[in-house]
Amino acid sequence: MSDAANKPAAAPGLGATLASIVNGCFGDYLSQRDNGLAIDMAFYRHNRPLSLTPEALRAAFPAPTARLCVLLHGLCCHEGAWDYPDNPARSYGSALQADLGFTPLFLRYNTGLPIPYNGKALDTLLEQLLAAYPLPVEELVLLGHSMGGLVLRGACHFGAERGAAWVGKVSRVFYIGTPHEGAALEQVGHLVNSILHAVPNPITHLLGDVANQRSQGIKDLRHGTVLDGAAGVAAVPWLAGAQHYMIAGTVTDDPEHLAAKLFGDGLVQPPQAGENVCLFPGIDHMQLAHDDAVYEQIKTWCAST
């Protein structure tokens, strides 16, 4: 099947992009105020939320397969982040469908909400998906870009904790540019905010107050928080029974370059080298979500036993 046949005809437009940015910046406030801009978590297809009923899923996927891949975007993004800029009909989802027979599902969610909240919501949504899917699901592959990886990790944790059936179907989890150890940019943002409040001047206090209005989702990126409360990401064990893969990039072609050491992929520092870790020098944070070399690695890992 061609990529064009699998991808929504109506890609998210400027309105959806602006709404996603606003949600990323102030999503918790929007949700609290029941603002019409607040995004409700859902799988999106053709730029519309997918109803999780057997009829709707059968209509959306006329030729469903028993292998699903779920893709989660990062902060201030929507599912369009997975589209290749030079070929919007192609994404990791559509390519995995064409090459390995996965049925892709693209999630859209309010990235300004706390990461643990989104993790719990995803756990519930995946349960509903598997209950309504037209076929018994044999395999579930999860791909998370940036914050999406943390949400996935949270969902796996909450699902495993309550013994959700979908957790047992997860074979592989891909964390693409995910700040498991926290995002340096938010750490700097928090520091600047503290300094602005510490300086005894009404203007710096005002600037600090404005900066402090950023969403809880952004603040959670400081430590890569996946759980509620004081527990950090270190407290979350990796989902047993699934393979976990980390994909990272650097801003320079030379990963040993000072800029790569300082800025990582521009937003996130690469993880330490390891067995299921792959570094792509010269690929920045956003490009990690739509790059041929990255996809080839994902496909290789997905095809391996």
């Binding site: 603002n35 019409g36 009404p202």
Partner: protein
């Protein structure tokens, strides 16, 4: 116009209105604090303390009035925009 688009426009209107309100209050507070600093210094000079306090009072009243006008104007624009959206929604709603 579809209901989802209208819901988003209404949401953007509400967010903008709330942001202007919050910003006007915060900037007004900061303005007040900054404006009081030179007056506080001048008021220490006993012979001019009384007129300085009077000028300070007038200054702060004008400042508060300006920010109140901004907030009032913002509220009014919000009400009118909300009314216009209600009308559009009424027209767009299937009978």
């Amino acid at each position: 116009m579809n209901p989802e688009t209208l819901r988003q426009i209404r949401g953007a209107k509400d967010l903008l209105e709330e942001a202007i309100e919050a910003l006007a209050v915060s900037v007004g507070d900061a303005h007040r604090k900054m404006a009081r600093q030179p007056y506080a210094l001048l008021a220490r000079i006993e012979p001019i303390a009384a007129p300085v306090r009077a000028i300070e009072e007038a200054h702060l009243r004008i400042t508060d009035g300006v920010y109140f006008s901004i907030r009032l104007g913002n509220r009014l624009v919000g009400v009118v925009a909300g009314f216009a959206l209600d009308r559009i929604e009424g027209v767009a709603r299937p009978k």
